[in-house]
């Protein structure tokens, strides 16, 4: 009986469930409903098994013998398809499986939107395949196998991004996603090959042993390659341009997986190689990661603010949050360099915690955005508004996600950012070199990020859900079906749990940190029976979101006492909003998303370089225009200055090269002739 509740068995069950989901949805290709139920049902099952497996592995503590089994023997040299779950892998398995449960539950209802339009069976198959590939990424113990899973993940990701391939943007985004992801894979591959050269094998065990013997140059090269490769997947600036294109166009249940989990595989990869494999880092590794993380966080949120496409906005926030995670990772690397394992562990915990948190609230937000899209048929926030009355439950879920991602207490985003701040602050005293100034500066940027994120989500929630509907579809919107709400509800519960009971959850991180830095901090961080979160210092700052929440509930009657005292006779009326004496407000008079972010656009004008065109027609005075046409456009500087010129140069070069094959046989003969002459001279 215990066999069935072992981590390894459950992992196998999860893999089998996903595989069954693929097969099941394909078999039921012609029957949409059955295909959806089979596919997403299997995914829920897989998610449950995966979560159970991960939790069992993590609860087992550091001493667990990692379950390992081989899928089958392939004849290819060095390829061993061994599935092995260690603590780090188990943590990420938890991330993917937990999100999978909610997202799959949601999908049961969401898939209905595709009936008769797109084949749900195919969606189910790709969806399960993505889950399978991601699960395999986290539990492959061999870099070759890892790369296979990694590429399968990219492939299925591409299929999902391009799923609605009838839209040109989905096709383009898919190609961009896949190409950049593949270039990243190239970096990862080269990094692994460098390690392979040193160890002669592809096992992570072997890498670990061999990394010590590598020259500094090789290790640095491997670091740069891994940072490029995994950073591409994670979407750090300036490798992020695919992310904002690809995530919005995928079906929303897939967006939740892509943004919630898929980009975390990049984080997983960085953790795996930088902490587990490559050994003690030089200082500049940490500095680089920290700097890149900070830049990603700030730029990600700034670009997010400029979006009025709800899903693109969320996608840019993924860049921001990856930046926050990397801040933790970079700080941890710097602490490892200066031999402060305790602080390194703290920073690492912050990063890991934020990884899970982001997965939870970003999935929640994408699912919410999906529900809105489902109801209104548009992703353009300027066409929404007033949805809180039409879809109150979805709005509530989205609000929870918004509060969580804005790092506001008492939800989970606050906890992980708090931990990040703590590690940064303590980091200042770890070294005397000038780089220590990075810690507080990065902290300040993190503060800017948090505040801007809050601004962005005021906009996202306010413009989407509040006030009057700005378009006909928004006015006719309807609440999402039960399964979709249930999926979101699970994530809302997770946001609350992770926000209110951090110390309980931190116990699960113990084996992970034990594996990566050799320390376990949950007992030091959880004070007062785990109700209060400390920062490992005896007199350090503490926080208790649970305490705050309870205190808030206790204080809630206070205003009522005042009512009783002063306002017993006061009544409440419903009336029109003040309209300056005009003849009633119309939705056109509401503040728009673009208008909302205008101050920020003006302040960061140098960065955004907005292009605006105003055309005015008037008879007497420009102040009394007959018609006014306003167009504003922002393109990322990375795209206009870096990627587009590069692409143009490549295409120009290729076109020019085509002249070589101009159709003249004489020219072809001359090529051969010249080759022959050169070779003859070479051979002499």
């Amino acid at each position: 009986m215990t066999r069935f509740f072992s981590s390894g068995f459950l992992l196998q069950a999860a893999l089998l469930a996903y595989a069954a989901g693929i097969v099941g949805s394909l078999l039921a290709l012609r029957r949409e409903k059955a295909a959806g139920h089979l596919g997403f049902g299997a995914a829920i099952l897989g998610g449950l098994c995966g979560t159970a497996s991960a939790v069992l592995a993590l609860v087992g503590g550091a001493q667990i013998t990692p379950p390992a089994f081989e899928l089958w023997r392939s004849g290819v040299p060095y390829l061993r398809l061994t599935v092995q779950l260690d603590a780090l892998g188990a943590f990420f398995l938890l991330v993917v499986s937990a999100v999978a449960i909610a997202s799959s539950l949601y999908s049961l209802g969401y898939a209905r939107g595709f009936y008769g339009r797109k084949n749900v069976g195919i969606l189910g198959a790709f969806y399960n395949a993505l889950l399978l590939a991601m699960t395999l990424v986290f539990c492959s113990s061999n870099a070759f196998f890892f790369l296979i899973s990694w590429e399968l993940m990219a492939l299925t990701g591409y299929c999902l991004v391009s799923f609605e391939h009838e839209k040109a943007e989905a096709r383009d985004a898919g190609v961009l996603f896949f190409i950049m992801s593949h270039l990243g894979t190239g970096g990862v591959l080269l990094g692994f090959l460098l390690l392979f050269r040193a160890s002669g094998d592809f096992g992570f065990e072997g890498f670990r042993a061999a990394a010590g013997g590598m020259s500094a140059g090789a290790r640095n090269a491997a670091f740069v390659l891994f940072l490029f490769g995994f950073g591409m997947k994670a979407g750090i600036v300036p490798l992020h341009v695919w992310l904002a294109e690809a995530h919005p166009v995928a079906p929303s249940n897939a967006s939740a997986l892509l943004s919630g989990v898929l980009i975390k595989t990049g984080v997983y990869g960085l953790l795996r190689v930088l902490f587990d494999v490559l050994g003690e880092p030089p200082n500049w590794w940490g500095v680089t990661v920290l700097t890149l993380g900070t830049i990603s966080a700030v730029l990600g949120v700034l670009y997010a603010l400029m979006e009025h496409d709800l899903k693109r906005l969320l996608a840019y926030h993924s860049i921001e949050n990856i930046g926050i995670i990397l801040i933790g990772l970079g700080a941890a690397l710097m602490f490892l360099h200066t031999h402060h394992p305790l602080l390194a562990t703290l920073a690492l915990i912050a990063g890991l915690y934020h990884t899970l948190n982001h997965a939870v609230f970003k999935a929640l937000l994408f699912l919410g955005a999906g529900a809105v899209l489902h109801a209104t048929g548009t992703r353009n926030m300027e066409k929404m508004g007033g949805l809180i009355k039409r879809m109150p439950r979805t709005a509530l879920c989205f609000l929870v996600g918004a509060v969580a991602i804005s790092a506001l207490p008492p939800l989970n985003g606050f906890i992980s950012e708090w931990l990040t701040y703590q590690s940064l602050l303590q980091g200042f005293t770890t070294t005397n070199s000038l780089v220590r100034i990075l810690f507080p500066l990065s902290g300040a940027m993190l503060a800017l990020t948090g505040a801007l994120a809050a601004a962005c989500f005021v906009k996202a929630f306010g413009i989407t859900f509040l006030a009057q509907p700005r378009s006909e579809p928004a006015a006719r919107a309807h609440e999402a079906p039960g399964t979709m709400l249930a999926g979101m509800g699970l994530l809302v519960a997770a946001c609350f749990f992770l926000g209110l009971f951090p110390a309980t959850f931190l116990k699960l991180l113990d084996p992970v940190t034990a594996q990566l830095t050799g320390l376990q901090l949950s007992s030091q961080l959880g004070l007062a029976h785990g109700l209060v979160l400390g920062n490992t210092l005896p007199e350090g700052g503490t926080v208790s979101t649970l305490g705050m929440a309870l205190m808030g509930v206790c204080l809630l009657p206070a205003p009522w006492v005042l009512w009783l005292g002063f306002g017993r006779r006061a009544r409440t009326r419903i009336g029109p909003t003040w309209d300056c004496g005009l003849l009633g407000l119309t939705p056109a008079m509401e503040y728009t998303a673009t208008g909302f972010s205008k101050p920020i656009r003006m302040i960061f004008k140098a960065l955004f370089r907005p292009r605006r065109e105003v055309q005015r027609e008037y008879d007497y005075s420009p102040y009394f225009a007959k018609t006014l046409r306003f167009e504003s456009h922002i393109e990322e500087a990375f795209v206009t200055r870096l990627y587009r010129p590069f692409k143009g140069a490549v295409l120009r070069f290729s076109r020019r090269l085509r002249a070589l094959q101009a159709g003249s046989i004489q020219a072809y003969l001359i090529y051969i002739f010249i080759t022959l002459l050169v070779l003859l001279l070479f051979a002499l």
């Binding site: 023997r73 050269r197 070589l660 046989i665």
Partner: protein, 491 residues
């Protein structure tokens, strides 16, 4: 007996097709012949594993592991093409694109083409190998010109002129090799057999061997489609009927490469591996790097596939040039997987050509998936394989080549290899997504969805998937033996 059977079966089929009238009989004869060849090839595999070398006709025919591997590839691809050809020409005949005479020409020439290729890999004598190769060129050139369009004639002309010129150079190289083997003052006519030459490598004249290899490299390299001698390749591949394109791309290039390899082995045995290995590496890399930009801005579907073949042949060549057991193993593996994937792509392209009446990608796409779902499914799978995505085997073989390159210490070269692979990946992905996905501009044609390529594509893709997931022990040990031969360590 086996080797004889291998050669006799296709020749017999060709003769049979020459006299018989029924087209179905011709198809059946072709399929039967190639099926027999495949069976014999599998038998040969076992025999070679057991005895290392199989000879017949007094050492005129000789098969070692490398030959046996090639025999398998040739017979599989030929079988697939024959399976596809019947349905393909039925549609062509119905559309009036070709006449019955031309179809007969196809069914006669194709077995001859195959027989020629089989003779190339089975011949012991290097001279025989040369003229077998020339005969493959001559039989395939008429196949390329089969449609008798302006463009196909142009392609055939370029193919035959460049190919013949290349083969003339290769002949000179062969002559040099032969001359190098002549012992001073010995009146006896030396044997031109491979087995003999390998036995006397110590006594060969180094300068001659060097010169010979250079000539053979340019010569057979032309036939194998190495850049910059590849210029005929996209023309011929795009203009030939699709079953022929599949054979040209799937095996013919590799057979020429095989011939080049034999000289490489000889040269390496004389001069050490660095001279010929470096040249192979340079040409392989060059081909890969050249293919990528052409893929990126290609407008014609079959030319696109042809450039992709150029890239793959380049990879194989570079893998062998890197000259470590692992890279060579990877290159051989790559040959096998590519031989399974590329024909499937050409079959799909053939279907598309017949349904859309054009190969211009801007006219085909977008939205092909709505018009020919089954073909597109096959094409997508084979395409994913061709761009080197797991779970398809080409990913493994590319990885193996790179592994080998790195563990042999050729970091920079391997990095360049990877860069070229990535570049052509980008191009192919971009092109495929452009035509396969989206909404068709015009209304779908009224003709029923073509199931024509299903058996042939199914065969190739199933084999590809099967061997991607599971490489049986005999095959790996065969490839290992072949790799040892290429490294000069085997028989």
């Amino acid at each position: 007996m086996r080797l004889t059977l291998l050669l006799a079966a296709p020749v017999a089929a060709a003769l049979f097709c020459l006299v018989v009238r029924s087209r179905r009989a011709m198809e059946a004869a072709n399929i039967l012949a190639f099926g027999t060849a495949l069976a014999a090839g599998v038998g040969l595999l076992g025999e070679v594993l057991e005895r290392q070398v199989v000879t017949e006709w007094g050492e005129f025919l000789r098969a070692d592991a490398l030959s046996a591997w090639m025999v398998l590839l040739i017979s599989v691809v030929s079988l697939g093409s024959a399976l596809y050809a019947g349905r393909y020409f039925r549609r062509d005949l119905a559309a009036g694109t070709v006449g019955p005479g031309r179809v007969r020409e196809f069914f006669v020439l194709t077995p001859l083409f195959t027989a020629g290729m089989l003779l190339v890999v089975l011949a012991n004598n290097l001279g025989v190998m040369w003229f077998a190769l020339e005969s493959t060129a001559l039989s395939s050139v008429l196949l390329v010109a089969l449609y008798n369009r302006r463009t196909s004639l142009e392609a055939a002309w370029k193919y035959v002129i460049l190919g013949s010129l290349g083969l003339a150079l290769a002949l000179l190289g062969t002559v040099f090799t032969y001359a190098a083997a002549i012992e001073k003052g010995s009146p006896a006519l030396p044997s031109f057999n491979w087995s003999h030459l390998m036995a006397v490598t110590g006594q060969l004249d180094h300068r001659m061997i060097k010169l010979a290899f250079v000539l053979v490299l340019v010569g057979y390299g032309t036939k194998a489609g190495l850049a910059p001698m590849h210029t005929w390749l996209p023309d011929a591949h795009s203009e030939a009927p699709s079953p022929t394109s599949a054979m040209l791309s799937g095996v013919s290039l590799k057979v020429a490469l095989y011939a080049l390899l034999r000289f490489h082995i000889l040269t390496a045995a004389c001069l050490g591996p660095s001279f010929s290995g470096t040249l192979l590496l340079v040409f392989g890399l060059g081909s890969m790097c050249l293919a990528a930009p052409f893929i990126l801005v290609q407008t014609n579907l079959k030319r696109l596939l042809a450039y992709s073949s150029l890239e793959h042949v380049g990879l194989i060549c570079a893998g062998i040039g890197l000259n470590s057991p692992l890279t060579i193993f990877g290159a051989l593996l790559h040959m096998g997987y590519h031989a399974l994937a590329k024909p499937a792509l050409f079959f799909a392209a053939g279907n598309i050509h017949q349904s859309c009446h054009t190969l211009q990608m801007r006219l085909i796409g977008p939205g092909l998936v709505k018009r020919l779902p089954l073909t597109v499914l096959g094409m997508a799978l084979a395409g994913a394989a061709a761009i080197g995505l797991p779970p398809f085997g080409l990913f493994y073989s590319e990885m193996t080549v790179l592994n080998g390159g790195f563990s042999a210490g050729c970091t920079a070269t391997s990095t360049l290899l990877l860069a070229a692979i990535l570049a052509s990946f980008c191009g192919l992905l971009y092109q495929f997504s452009r035509i396969l996905l989206g909404v068709p501009k015009a209304a779908p044609p009224s003709d029923p969805p073509a199931l024509d390529a299903v058996p042939a594509m199914g065969l190739m893709l199933c084999a590809l998937l099967l061997f991607s997931f599971w490489l049986p022990e005999p095959l790996t040990s065969l490839m290992r033996q072949a790799a040892a031969i290429i490294q000069g360590k085997g028989s």
